[in-house]
Symmetry: C2
Subunit: 378 residues, 2 copies
């Protein structure tokens, strides 16, 4: 055999009508990544991410001074440590992986063991001795919702946040905008050469080994198509690659959102091309989150963390790019109606399936053939 890498198997089983997550499989597929320090370091090296949380905490110390804080998915423990340094009375730092041991060492090395209590376990299973004033968490995945980690934050909030409590971050938004990019041509070439390669493979297998494999052409075609053309790409785009008006397609109030509110994201919006003669190569999705405190206790300094295309402030999240094949020739003033919907994958609730539609009306008045594409955020 000879298999070099792990794949990604399903972690869901249907039990009657309710969907059950196999925790062991979910751990194998998901959590384990966070048990590696190099991965923690990658996040700790994301200046945009670090500055936003750092400023959110230290420019709003009144939310932390003398307060109790819960950090959901503390990882290396950085947010819990900052909360303590900002004056928290007690910080519960919950981490599902063995990274909890490193977090504990880090807390001790920074002399905060009397304030920060690291608890190894999943937030759904653990118990706290008290309710908390603040829930802080860095739960955002690619295009905000990949990883479905906000589910755990919601669970933590409903179980452990005081009625007067504050969420850090307090709000989140998803954005979608039309882009130009060279990646699509490359991907199409890769896809086509994979298919050409397949056809010579078919001939060889028939000629040398007497087996006709052409019945597998369609499924191979679909597998490769999904891999090369339908899987959203990670990219830190240049702002000038955004060729039209982006739109907010989802707003989340972290204090009130339910799991039901985030299971599906649906949006229709009008956009128009804002640059001369170019190619609409696809759409890019990104997010921002805000630290505004709550209506009863607003932040004294609102902080924003955005993963929008930027010249200097790229993040490890980048943007998720959905490519159209082939691109459309468009120009300034062309209008489009975009329809977007995103659902969780049936096989793995932490991955997403996207349906993107686009109806383009050129400024000439000409109506282009409507597009409807399916994508996967893996």
């Amino acid at each position: 055999m000879g298999s070099s890498s792990n794949g990604a198997a399903g972690n869901l089983t249907a039990k009657g009508n309710e969907v059950v997550v196999d925790k062991g499989v979910d751990f194998a597929n998901y959590f384990c990544t966070y048990a590696f320090l190099y991965h923690q370091k990658e996040m700790l090296c994301d200046r945009v991410r670090m500055d936003a949380y750092f400023n959110a905490i230290f420019e709003n110390k009144e939310h932390f001074r003398g307060k109790t804080v819960l950090d959901v998915g503390t990882g290396s423990g950085i947010l819990a440590i900052w909360s303590a340094q900002a004056g928290a009375r007690k910080v519960y730092a919950v981490e599902a992986t063995k990274m909890s041991e490193h977090a504990r060492e880090l807390v001790k090395a920074n002399n905060l063991q009397d304030v920060v209590e690291v608890i190894e376990g999943s937030i759904e299973d653990i118990t706290l001795p008290e309710k908390v004033d603040v829930i802080i968490s860095e739960w955002m995945g690619y295009f905000l919702l990949r990883e479905s980690m906000f589910d755990s934050v919601i669970c933590a909030r409903d179980r452990w946040l005081k009625p007067t409590g504050v969420m850090y971050p307090s709000h989140a938004r998803m954005w979608l905008g039309p882009i130009r990019s060279g990646q699509g041509d490359q991907k199409m070439n890769d896809y086509e050469s994979a298919m050409n390669d397949w056809h010579s493979f078919l001939e060889e297998t028939k000629t040398y080994y007497g087996v006709d494999m052409s019945v597998l052409t369609k499924p191979f075609h679909e597998e490769q198509r999904k891999y090369y053309l339908q899987t959203a790409l990670w990219n830190n785009l240049h702002p000038e690659q955004v060729i039209g008006l982006p739109a907010v397609i989802k707003e989340i109030d972290c204090l009130t959102a339910t799991v039901n509110d985030i299971l599906t994201v649906r949006a229709n919006f009008l956009s128009s091309i804002t640059v001369e003669k170019t190619r609409l190569c696809g759409f890019a999705g990104w997010f921002d989150v805000h630290f505004r405190g709550s209506s009863v206790s607003p932040a004294s300094h609102e902080i924003e963390l955005t993963t929008a295309p930027s010249i200097d402030n790229g993040t490890h999240w980048g943007q998720q790019v959905f490519l159209l094949h082939p691109p459309l020739r468009v120009g300034e003033g062309d209008d489009m109606m975009v329809t977007f919907s995103m659902n969780r994958s049936k096989e793995n609730h932490r991955l997403m399936e996207v349906e993107l539609g686009c109806e383009m009306r050129l400024s000439s008045g000409k109506q282009l053939q409507p597009l409807a594409k399916k994508f996967y955020i893996e």
Copy 2:
């Protein structure tokens, strides 16, 4: 957060004294890879692999004509189809993944549905209506035993092979030999730059974010060391990179071997450098398997499949390379005593841990400091 890839979590839990494999986790970590056609194609494009099985079957038709055959882990179904084409009366093709559906299509497309029965399930769970004359399987992982798939072949043999039955392949051997390679220097550079990078990261985190992370230096060091220096590398070496006499460190008779026989591989052997003035950069491990039939019904044409370093006949298995840091300056006639032991990883029974010792006595009579290194086959 933002995690792009799967890690590899444990699939073992200790239940009293016996070790239990979590099947869901094992599927997530292991089997799922084989559900992708591109991965099947990679194996089907391995000419050395294909030719060996093809010739083993068609040059020994007497083992198949009118016989019952079991293919363990049939994947695309190729071995089952060849067995049927060679005249088998009935072939049971067992596959744990959804690839079974493609195998079934392929069997039908090649008009063998009356002979080949594709069964989706793990060999440990399924039941056959009869015992079989031949068990054929392509079960070999990197350095033969990675993936621990031979366990399933043993299970199949003990449950379903007739006393007079034949194993395809019938024998397997593991080889180890001293090599020279440029990879080690590269890996050491990567490792050192990762560590330098870590130290500037520590400074930044302290200066800008007020957290002292130096307590994590040791574990990060160990994590990176394991990743860059202690993980066996895949490589198709040139025969001239082998600088001394390789040795057989394990022989397996597929008809009689038990799981106990393959849990651990231990060997001590003497080797000597056979090229002038060079560097001993490490050791390479590879394997070969043989199709000899059995003593009661020997093959009319013995076939060998080897993954040894080769100019023209590289395989998708390549060799597993264990690098020494730093390399040793050696020359023709220098002798070494090599001690090797390989065990299954405690976290994942399909991965391996290797301990390699080397005592070098130069032809000058000078004895070098004995080496003892630990490696991981991931």
